[in-house]
């Protein structure tokens, strides 16, 4: 029987401000999972701290809501325990590219089979409007001085660091976002889906209209104008040329080999449910080595 979007909904009252971009991300994630026909109990959604981190309240999967910035290591742990689970990590730009930036770089390097959906609104919302690592130079809010730091460029960083799947979406275009998330989930390795998800309360600069005006939809480009999404250099050049303001599939390595497949001796079975008894011969060898 086909899995429906309804199965992915929960009764929890939504907490986000009316008009928040995260609603679009939530809808896209639920649809992507349902369309891939994955049962809700086979999904583990790991979220960080921030407005975006609340997403676990609204998805009827197994949800783990961790400390600030640590969704990726937690997601790795979940995947190591049970590689049959579909593991999705979610968070915001502050969570992922500020406090969690170190883990971001290493998750990419490891290429563990986790899909990382970042709701990027270029501002700290939950703490009421401070600049974030993706805020533009000069960005100003009621509580912060004009930003004198350059923004991080998550997709460019990811492609440069060796990510095997990098996509960027816009929360208003749920249809495209569903495809990007599905692509990430199907991808055997670490998949970054950075989503521009406007904050209607604290970011008066990067508004829905601003994104509509400034984002280039890669799907809309004429064939001759398109970059090659399977060529890392081509993806980097494209991102540099457009300063990252694009949406669509940026890069995918079609030969990606996930971390789990590279771990010596790591079984095909879930270690969470497998037999834990130690083999007699192995135990005897362990003892003999110490004698």
């Amino acid at each position: 029987m086909a899995v429906s979007v309804k199965q992915y909904r929960t009764s929890a009252e939504t907490w986000w401000c009316p008009g928040c971009g995260d609603f679009g991300v939530l809808a896209a994630l639920q649809r992507a999972l349902a369309e891939l026909n994955i049962e809700p109990h086979d999904v583990a959604l790991i979220a960080g701290i921030g407005c975006s981190g609340k997403i676990g309240n609204y998805v009827n999967s197994y949800n783990l809501h961790v400390t600030h910035g640590r969704a990726l290591p937690a997601a790795m742990g979940v995947k190591l325990a049970n590689r049959h689970l579909t593991v999705v990590a979610a968070g915001g730009d502050g969570d992922g590219y500020g406090i969690g930036m170190g883990h971001f770089a290493h998750a990419i390097r490891r290429n563990i089979d986790v899909t990382y959906v970042v709701m990027d609104n270029q501002v700290y919302g939950l703490t009421k409007g401070q600049t974030s690592p993706t805020s533009d130079y000069g960005f100003k809010t009621k509580v912060s001085l004009p930003n004198i730091e350059e923004p991080t460029r998550p997709c460019l960083s990811a492609v440069s660091l060796g990510a095997t799947y990098v996509a960027q979406g816009f929360s208003s275009d749920v249809k495209q976002l569903v495809e990007l998330i599905k692509g990430g989930i199907k991808h055997p390795g670490f998949a970054l889906v950075n989503v521009f998800s406007p904050c209607v309360t604290y970011n008066a600069f990067n508004t829905y209209d601003w994104f509509r005006e400034n984002l280039v939809n890669l799907d809309d480009l004429a064939p001759d104008d398109r970059h090659d999404p399977h060529d890392r250099d081509s993806a980097i050049q494209m991102l540099r040329a457009k300063d990252g303001w694009v949406r669509g599939l940026i890069y995918q390595d079609l030969n990606s080999r996930p971390f789990e497949d590279r771990i010596a001796g790591f079984g095909a079975k879930s270690v969470a449910t497998s037999d834990l008894d130690l083999d007699e011969t192995l135990w005897n060898n362990m003892v003999r080595e110490q004698q």
Binding site: N63, V78, Q290
Partner: protein
């Protein structure tokens, strides 16, 4: 020589020293393994600096025909492969001690050194058989004569070590071994105090030679640990290495993470998803792990954290003994939390505690911390045969098919309030078991809640879970109602045990109380034993008296009126980076007892 600290049997301490990187470790290990196989009890300890090459390092072995559980402050035989070894170690030699040194470096005795020097051409002997590199084997041969150990044990060890390299390597090594032996035999009679006593005939043929770290890792594997995420740190790294080596053989995964925050977070993630998972660290890593320890408490996820203490704070003294993380292990993280803290005192206990820790984590659904310390982690000693089936795997309260149907509930009530505080948990992948595990305060389904009534119920639920655990929390050795009671945890147990034996041999009634569980704190047992003793010493390796503060708080609580009902306790605190030696305790206790102590029941 007959060690003053023991009442039965005798021990000899042999030490080899050279510049770091000169094979001291492999030489010492070979000696220890040979002795262990012969049925002796050995306790081996290294001294090294936190650098890769250069700097003095030594490997000492205290060996006897009775269980040896502590290092000695005195060496009987010092094998010196360079002058620095003599200069740095001669003061530790016993009055009757002997230095054997390589002719090669033209050894000199310091002016105030009263020990005898025997110069043996280790390097020359080795070169005559092909290579100077074998000089350590010549030193083993020379030592074998003095200690009165048959060469066959070393021959077997050399055969094993160089099995892959073949006869061309084995033969000259064995020749060097014999030449070293013969050289000393021709020049010096064996001395009673330096040669080993007869080995006990009923010795354990299956005894192992283990460090606490190795023992813990073996226990973790036997317990079904299948995910280990860690970050290298002295003195915990061996645990990660061991798991990296063996987990592939059981289909598990060991991952070296980017930092300790990732290490604990991944272990908690794996625990949430149903694996038996752990991480190992030392003080600086423990500091980084604190936030996630609070998360694990909040979401009630089992995880095992072993903390191998070293000199702190900050970088402190990475290769030195200390027990100053106690309060951090007990309380470290913000907010109100409880956890279980086990404290093995020997490698054997570290093995069983690893198994226990995983069972307790699953049963009580919380982080279980295991307090190791540098000496326990690194020192290797004879360990009796291990029974891996003594503590069967128990995964605690897991959701049944019936639970997963969650009748009468809108979804699976993962955090159901009940009498024990322990609610059955579901594992990702189980249909019907979906819930939200969040570090934010939550209700029974995991949904975030700031309801005041729920808040209090949940805080109490989590505390209730670990009020009592089904583990023997203390070990008591010695006289009932003793004049002197020593209380401690971790590796000082060995020194305490020897001190108690020596005091009793001198007619002072004495006992030790070793705390095997530090949280939940065994208040009643400690209060009872303290009330029965005349003088109480808290033996611990930190400056602030962290254990003493906990004990005093516990005793204070027993009374509830602000006065001490029990004798005041005194602190024996050592924090210079060296382990506790038996004679130090004995001296302090005797002085105090003889000079009429201030300590009387209040």
């Amino acid at each position: 020589m007959l060690d003053q600290g023991t009442s039965a049997g005798s021990t000899v301490t042999w030490k080899v020293g050279a510049e770091q990187g000169q094979g001291v470790d492999s030489t010492g290990t070979m000696m220890a393994l040979v002795l262990n196989r012969l049925g002796y009890h050995v306790y081996a300890y290294r001294q090294f600096s936190s650098r890769i090459k250069g700097g003095h390092s030594n490997y000492a072995i205290r060996v006897g025909n009775i269980p040896v559980r502590a290092s000695s402050h005195q060496d009987d035989i010092l094998v010196a492969l360079d002058q620095e070894t003599i200069d740095r170690n001669y003061r530790q030699l016993a009055p009757n001690g002997l230095i054997i040194a390589d002719t090669d470096f033209n050894p000199r005795l310091p002016e105030d050194c009263e020990s005898e020097l025997l110069v043996v051409p280790f390097s020359e002997i080795a070169s005559s058989e092909g290579s100077k590199i074998m000089r350590n084997v010549a030193a083993l041969g020379a030592s074998a004569f003095l200690l009165n150990i048959p060469l066959s044990g070393f021959e077997a060890a050399l055969n094993l070590q160089f099995a892959r390299k073949g006869d061309a390597v084995i033969r000259p090594n064995i020749a060097v071994l014999h030449k070293g032996y013969e050289y000393v035999k021709e020049r010096m009679p064996r001395r009673e105090g330096l040669s080993l006593p007869e080995v006990n005939q009923d010795h354990d043929n299956e005894a192992l030679f283990l460090s606490g770290n190795e023992a813990f890792a073996m226990g973790a594997l036997a317990a079904g640990c299948r995910v280990m995420t860690g970050y290298p740190i002295t003195p915990a790294s061996e645990i990660l290495s061991y798991m990296e080596r063996y987990l592939p053989m059981v289909g598990g995964a060991a991952v070296q993470t980017e930092d300790e925050i990732a290490a604990i977070m991944a272990a908690v993630g794996a625990g949430y998803a149903g694996a038996r998972a752990m991480t190992s660290t030392s003080g600086p890593g423990l500091s980084l792990m604190q936030e996630v320890l609070g998360l694990a408490h909040m979401i009630e996820v089992p995880v095992v954290v072993v903390n191998c203490q070293r000199g702190g704070p900050s970088t402190g003294m990475p290769t030195k003994q200390e027990q100053s993380d106690l309060l951090a292990m007990l309380y470290g993280t913000h907010g109100d939390t409880q956890r279980i803290l086990l404290a093995p005192g020997t490698p054997e206990e570290a093995f069983y505690d690893a198994q226990l820790a995983f069972n307790l984590a699953d049963k009580h659904q919380c982080p279980v911390m295991v307090a190791m310390d540098f000496s326990l982690s690194i020192d290797e000693c004879t360990v009796p045969k291990l029974d891996r089936n003594r503590i069967p795997i128990d995964r605690g309260a897991l959701a049944t098919e019936e639970d997963l149907k969650h009748e009468g509930h809108e979804r699976f009530p993962r955090y159901l309030i009940n009498e024990s505080g322990i609610s059955p948990r579901s594992i990702p992948g189980q249909p019907g078991g979906q819930y939200l595990a969040t570090g934010a305060e939550h209700g029974i389904y995991g949904w975030v809640s700031e309801n005041p009534k729920n808040r209090v119920e949940m805080v109490n639920k989590r505390a209730r879970k670990v009020e009592k655990i089904d583990v023997q929390a203390t070990i008591y050795e010695g006289d009932d109602n003793p004049e002197v009671l020593l209380i401690g945890f971790g590796s000082p147990r060995g020194a305490m045990s020897e001190a108690v034996q020596a005091l009793r041999a001198d007619g002072i009634s004495a006992a030790l109380l070793s705390l095997r569980v530090l949280a939940p704190f065994p208040e009643e047992e400690v209060a009872l034993r303290v009330s029965q003793a005349k003088h109480v010493w808290i033996v611990e390796q930190n400056a602030n008296g962290q254990l003493q503060s906990i004990i005093e708080a516990a005793l204070f609580r027993q009374n509830q009126d602000g006065t001490y009902r029990y004798p005041r306790v005194e602190g024996f605190r050592k924090y210079n980076g060296l382990p506790v030696f038996p004679h130090e305790i004995i001296r302090l206790v005797k002085e105090s007892v003889e000079h009429g102590s201030q300590r009387q029941a209040v």
